[in-house]
């Protein structure tokens, strides 16, 4: 029939790769911040041991899996959700929404308010994860960008901000 065609879903490989890299680094930074930052430690302390959460992009990833082991240590558990029992799954509805988030055009709270995320799991823990993401973004990003990415840019002490930043970066790069 004229004017009809069937279109196979294409790919957005470049965007997907960018988000995957950002999630990979963010995951390692969360692990680092949990060891370095008191506020992040406190947020994780409110989660039960063995608790695992994931930040994923629908429908097929990328994913970021973070878990708290039985001894209370926070670990970045990679990008493959298979083999992990996910207690809290925070799903970004599509790659474009993820891109808005990871290019800091939208903060996590704004993305949530605009219904770009779906949460499967406990809402209180999801809010804690949001706060942890905000803390990590302040460590990772210069103020001018971080202000766009977080709900409220806090006035941290020099020691916390800069010493913490160095430690988070070093721990993220060397993954310890």
């Amino acid at each position: 029939m004229k004017n009809f065609r069937e279109v196979a879903a294409g790919k957005k490989s470049l965007k997907k790769d960018y988000v995957a890299v950002m999630m990979w680094f963010m995951g390692r930074a969360i692990q680092a911040a949990a060891a370095v930052d008191m506020a992040a430690k406190k947020e994780f302390a409110g989660m039960p041991d063995g608790f695992t959460f994931a930040l994923s992009v629908m429908p097929n990833g990328p994913h970021m899996i973070i878990g708290k082991d039985q001894r209370g240590f926070v670990r970045y558990k990679g990008w493959d959700p298979d083999g992990n029992k996910i207690d809290l799954d925070m799903k970004i509805k599509n790659i474009e929404a993820a891109l808005l988030l990871f290019t800091f055009q939208e903060s996590t709270t704004l993305a949530t308010a605009r219904n770009r995320l779906v949460v499967d799991g406990d809402v209180a823990h999801a809010c804690a994860v949001m706060r942890i993401l905000d803390i990590v973004e302040v460590y990772l990003l210069p103020k001018i960008i971080a202000k766009l990415a977080v709900k409220r840019y806090s006035g941290w002490s020099f020691r916390r901000k800069y010493l913490g930043r160095v430690l988070v970066y070093v721990r993220s790069i060397f993954s310890f």
Partner: protein
């Protein structure tokens, strides 16, 4: 606040509006248990490259889509049969219509066919003759969207359909899809929506929930229409208008159709003019007539039309008159905008006395204060006063 002794309100349409709203469609389809939608779009939509935006939005979703972008302005049953065969043979399980008007009507009527059999189309024409829910339907309005896209109505090949089952599951309003065609189309669509909203807000069957939709629609149109006509690149203004169209559609789906709508629709069809321009031209005259017959809700219209300050500073007995004046002013502003293109269309309308009577008769207006002579008088006044 007017609360009728009894009322009903029904609006199951989910509205997804804003930046990158189209990219959420695969997620919404998944929620509707659909995996392979058929996109139905008008010829103009295809020519303007808007189908490409939809295709792009499905990238990375893992879903294959069928695209038909050849719906003419006056589609017929042959097209429905062809689309029915495509839908069935290629295993589609949902419909996405792009654009208001004929594409939305085609998708709605096609949905009757694919949810049952093509012969159902004839049997379902009329009021509430569809007896079961239809397949998932998503409508993406463009600038030409008039609010019909979210309404319970469809008009196809000379048949009128009205059923809540025709309402789409989702309307997606994305600024990328509201790229302007021309000032006349934009104005006609907005006046269409303004007429629906104003008549829903002032009709005897009004209710607080329909009022909420109508109120916001009127506010958005008043705040943005003239700006958008002047500068069609105004993305936020276009998004506001598209939202207003959808809201007006929700409002008028829950009240009886008004006199300006009925007369304007027939006038547009008979005189081959944009229906919205006809409705807009008739609206203030119809309100004036209702005012003289004691239409007390017209005074309430001043609030969404002009805002709190004007409403508060206008004497109670002058509010209705002022509301009508503001609509007249809006029409004048529109006439002046865009180099007088709209004004020329209004001035060039050739409506003979016979046609005028014909319109009044065919409109099927049944209100006490609007007999055929009354309708003819309004049409005459509009013709002379333009």
């Amino acid at each position: 606040m007017y609360l009728p002794e009894r009322y009903e309100f029904f609006c199951p349409v989910k509205i997804n509006s804003g930046n990158r709203a189209l990219e959420h469609v695969p997620f919404e389809l998944d929620a509707l248990n659909a995996r392979k939608p058929l996109v139905v779009a008008g010829k103009d939509v295809g020519e303007r490259g808007l189908v490409g935006v939809i295709i792009d939005a499905f990238k990375d979703s893992g879903l294959a889509i069928g695209v038909y972008d050849g719906v003419p302005s006056a589609p017929d049953l042959k097209l429905i049969r062809e689309l029915f065969n495509i839908y069935r043979d290629r295993g589609h399980d949902a419909l996405i219509a792009i654009g208001g008007g004929s594409a939305a009507d085609t998708a709605k009527v096609l949905n009757i066919a694919v949810s049952g059999k093509p012969e159902d189309i004839e049997g379902c024409a009329g009021e509430n003759l569809i007896k079961k829910p239809l397949k998932p339907l998503i409508i993406v309005p463009t600038t030409a969207g008039t609010g019909y896209e979210v309404s319970k109505y469809a008009f196809f090949a000379g048949r009128d359909y009205a059923s809540h089952f025709l309402m789409p599951n989702l309307a997606v309003i994305d600024p990328r899809m509201t790229i302007p065609e021309d000032a006349v189309t934009t104005a006609a669509a907005a006046l269409f929506a303004l007429t629906h909203a104003a008549e829903a807000y002032t009709c005897p069957g009004k209710n607080p929930l329909a009022d909420a939709y109508a109120y916001t629609a009127i506010q958005l149109i008043m705040a943005n229409l003239v700006n958008v006509i002047g500068d069609q690149r105004d993305k936020n203004g276009r998004l506001s208008l598209a939202n207003a169209h959808a809201m007006a559609g929700c409002a008028f789906s829950n009240v009886a159709l008004g006199v300006a709508h009925k007369l304007g629709k027939v006038m547009g069809d008979l005189c081959h003019l944009p229906q919205g321009l006809c409705m807009g031209m008739l609206l203030p005259r119809v309100l004036e007539r209702e005012m003289s017959e004691g239409g007390y809700h017209i005074a309430d219209l001043l609030l969404p039309l002009a805002g709190f300050d004007t409403y508060a500073s206008t004497a109670a007995d002058m509010k209705a008159r002022r509301a009508v004046e503001i609509i007249h002013d809006l029409l004048k502003d529109l006439s002046a905008a865009n180099g007088g293109a709209i004004s020329r269309i209004w001035k060039d309308i050739q409506v003979s006395e016979d046609t005028l009577q014909d319109i009044a008769q065919r409109a099927g207006v049944n209100e006490a204060s609007f007999d055929i002579d009354g309708c003819a008088k309004i049409l005459r006044e509009a013709r002379e006063g333009r």
